[in-house]
């Protein structure tokens, strides 16, 4: 059994380890080790296309994670007061949203947005004197942010709700008993106590968006995020530069995930 588990881990992590290892190769080939160097990291960092894609990725990840954290928290808090079939219905929707494969979400979002654009664009144009100069909605940063927000929203709702339900109901009651208005209670008691979960949700959302290729591939239009850039450069052949970028993305994601996990763990632990 141990051996079996060991094999599974080897199988899972060997490719990743090889990528990380080869990113330090000094040679030109991505599949042969020729000495040790960090020159490919330097190359990657100095590549304007990489930096451009990285900037896009960070921007999209930050905005969508922020939106998802705010909307997700509000949703979790709102759902808190609801019981019965309505609640069950929403719960089911949220879990389904997390379980649906990215490719389905990507295609569905693409079709939905295209349909909406087809309706909205001519309508908007009809208000413009010069129809050609009218603003036009199209795939791009906006649609990417929207798609990522939708998906990560569910993650935030689940994380924040777990924290909310572990909070003693008596705390809100005590606050109300001590003359705090419902909003005052939210601001002074609920929010500080669920803040770790919101932050963890933010980091997870950020990581998800930052790493996502499938949804982005469908809805990013002409914009290039880092995963899309990696994908397109692989088609031109794998270089140690791609390995270096991949390693950096992986390390950054891992760090964020570990931080999120630590925050969640620390928040859930009773401090006594």
């Amino acid at each position: 059994m141990r051996l079996y588990a060991f094999c599974v881990y080897v199988f899972l992590y060997t490719p990743i380890a090889i990528i990380a290892l080869f990113s330090f190769s000094a040679g030109r080939s991505a599949s042969q080790l020729e000495g040790f160097s960090v020159k490919w990291y330097g190359r990657a960092v100095n590549n304007p296309f990489v930096m451009d894609a990285l900037g896009n990725s960070i921007f999209v990840a930050f905005v969508s994670a922020t939106l998802a954290s705010i909307l997700g928290t509000l949703m979790a808090v709102g759902l808190q007061g609801i019981r019965g079939p309505v609640r069950a219905f929403f719960d089911a929707l949220i879990y389904i949203a997390v379980m649906i494969p990215g490719i389905v979400i990507g295609i569905a979002t693409l079709i939905a947005l295209v349909t909406v654009f087809d309706v909205v664009n001519p309508w908007v144009a009809s208000f413009w004197a010069d129809a050609a100069a009218a603003p036009k909605l199209s795939m791009g940063m906006g649609s990417l942010i929207a798609a990522h927000t939708m998906f990560t929203l569910a993650l935030v709702v689940i994380i924040v709700r777990a924290r909310l339900s572990s909070l003693e109901a008596a705390l809100s009651e005590a606050s109300a008993d001590l003359y705090a208005t419902p909003f005052g209670t939210f601001r002074q008691i609920t929010l500080p106590l669920i803040a770790p979960a919101i932050l963890a949700g933010f980091l997870l959302s950020f990581t998800f968006s930052f790493d996502d290729f499938i949804i982005a591939f469908f809805v990013a239009g002409s914009e290039t995020t880092l995963p899309i850039y990696i994908f397109s450069s692989i088609r031109r052949g794998i270089t140690p530069e791609v390995n270096a970028i991949g390693t950096m993305v992986m390390v950054a994601s891992l760090i964020l995930l570990i931080i999120a996990q630590l925050i969640l763990r620390g928040g859930a632990k009773p401090k006594r």
């Binding site: 009651e173 606050s175 001590l178 705090a180």
Partner: protein, 380 residues
């Protein structure tokens, strides 16, 4: 003042005093949760400055009654008045009452000082921070926790947290302080200490306390008045003395102190006295309490300490056999089996009589009691 009136046990006078200075009232209050009737037709006046307890077994609606005073539950029917104002549907944060929660519900992300200041900080118009600080310091002094302002909640022991919860409530000088089993989480010794502190605090502050408990000893030792509840209803309200001496039902007599109950049939009523024939054919004359009429099933209640033991019998005494004896220092508790009445508990003072003090398991003994010491109660 009011307290001494209550102590006099002058029922009519007390009622009037309560009426003139009632700080809170429940008028025909009922509360339904779905189909569960948690509280039924509850009527109660809470007097300014008194220490009132809700006493009853688990699930009898004590917490629900308290929560309706606090505003966390809205009565299904009936009215809740505080200070003469109908607050039945008023939100908790608008009510001049404060509650001490069983779990304390201290805010874990705030220090002790900021927990206590919380209520004062919500007040509009704002209270200046200097006087908030003064009040917090004073409240900490009151609960003997001076200097603990900057401690974190989880750095405090259970008893200390209890006192922080108390300070957090009393610092607001509420019209009514509600306490839901505040001592239940403490160990026995600490609970005794806190009971004394609670009582002192209530006397010093003059705030009306409403305590929920299922611990009869706690209710008896702390309260000016006790409201005994059963299945959502008030069975009897009165001073601890009243409830002990004049229970209106077997339920109250059983819940407040301990008693022996002998089932029988009421065969005569004469004003406030009557007679009951017990199983085995004996007839006892005694005072009546509660709703009783001739021919009813009823029971005779005799407190263990009211039963006298004798070594030799007369026609009036009951013969029994000692089943068990527990030495309690000043008293000895006997469990005695009686042929027709079953097992009887007797609490006997230290005996000077050589024979009685040597009574042991299996010995025959004779019992009687004075007619004044027993009560005929409705059987419920």
């Amino acid at each position: 003042m009011l307290k001494s009136n209550l102590d006099m046990g002058n029922e009519a006078y007390t009622e009037r005093a309560v009426a003139s200075a009632s700080i809170a009232e429940l008028n025909d209050v009922s509360k339904l949760f779905g189909t569960v009737q948690a509280v039924s037709d509850m009527n109660l006046r809470i007097a300014q400055g008194e220490f009132l307890s809700f006493l009853g077994p688990s699930g009898c609606g004590k917490t629900t009654a308290l929560r309706m005073l606090a505003g966390f539950e809205t009565p299904t029917t009936g009215k809740v008045l505080i200070d003469g104002r109908d607050v039945s549907t008023l939100e908790p944060y608008k009510r001049p009452v404060n509650m001490v929660f069983q779990s304390y519900a201290l805010f874990p992300h705030l220090t002790v000082g900021r927990n206590i200041a919380y209520g004062l900080k919500q007040r509009r118009p704002k209270i200046d921070s200097k006087s908030i600080d003064d009040k917090v310091t004073h409240a900490l002094e009151t609960v003997r926790l001076s200097g603990f302002e900057n401690r974190r909640i989880w750095e405090m022991s259970g008893g200390q947290q209890q006192r922080v919860a108390l300070a957090r409530a009393i610092v607001n000088e509420p019209k009514l302080l509600l306490l839901d089993e505040p001592l239940a989480a403490l160990d026995r010794k600490l609970r005794k200490e806190m009971q004394i502190e609670l009582q002192d605090l209530q006397r010093d502050l003059g705030i009306t306390f409403v305590l929920v408990t299922h611990d009869q000893e706690e209710a008896l030792s702390l309260s000016d008045r006790i409201c005994v509840m059963r299945a959502g209803r008030i069975v009897q309200t009165g001073t601890p003395q009243d409830l002990y001496d004049q229970p209106n039902s077997r339920y109250v007599a059983d819940f407040v102190g301990t008693s022996n109950f002998f089932d029988g049939l009421v065969n005569q009523i004469n004003g406030s006295t009557g007679s009951i024939s017990l199983r085995g054919g004996r007839i006892y004359k005694s005072h009546l309490s509660g709703a009783i009429s001739v021919g009813n099933d009823a029971c005779l209640s005799v407190r263990p300490e009211q039963i006298r033991l004798h070594l030799s019998g007369t026609p009036e005494t009951l013969e029994g056999k000692v089943l068990n004896r527990i030495f309690l220092g000043e008293h000895t508790e006997y469990l005695i089996s009686q042929e027709s009445l079953g097992n009887i508990t007797v609490l006997a003072p230290r005996q000077s009589d050589e024979g009685l003090s040597n009574l042991g398991t299996g010995d025959t003994v004779y019992m009687d009691w004075s007619a004044d010491a027993a009560l005929i109660l409705p059987k419920d």
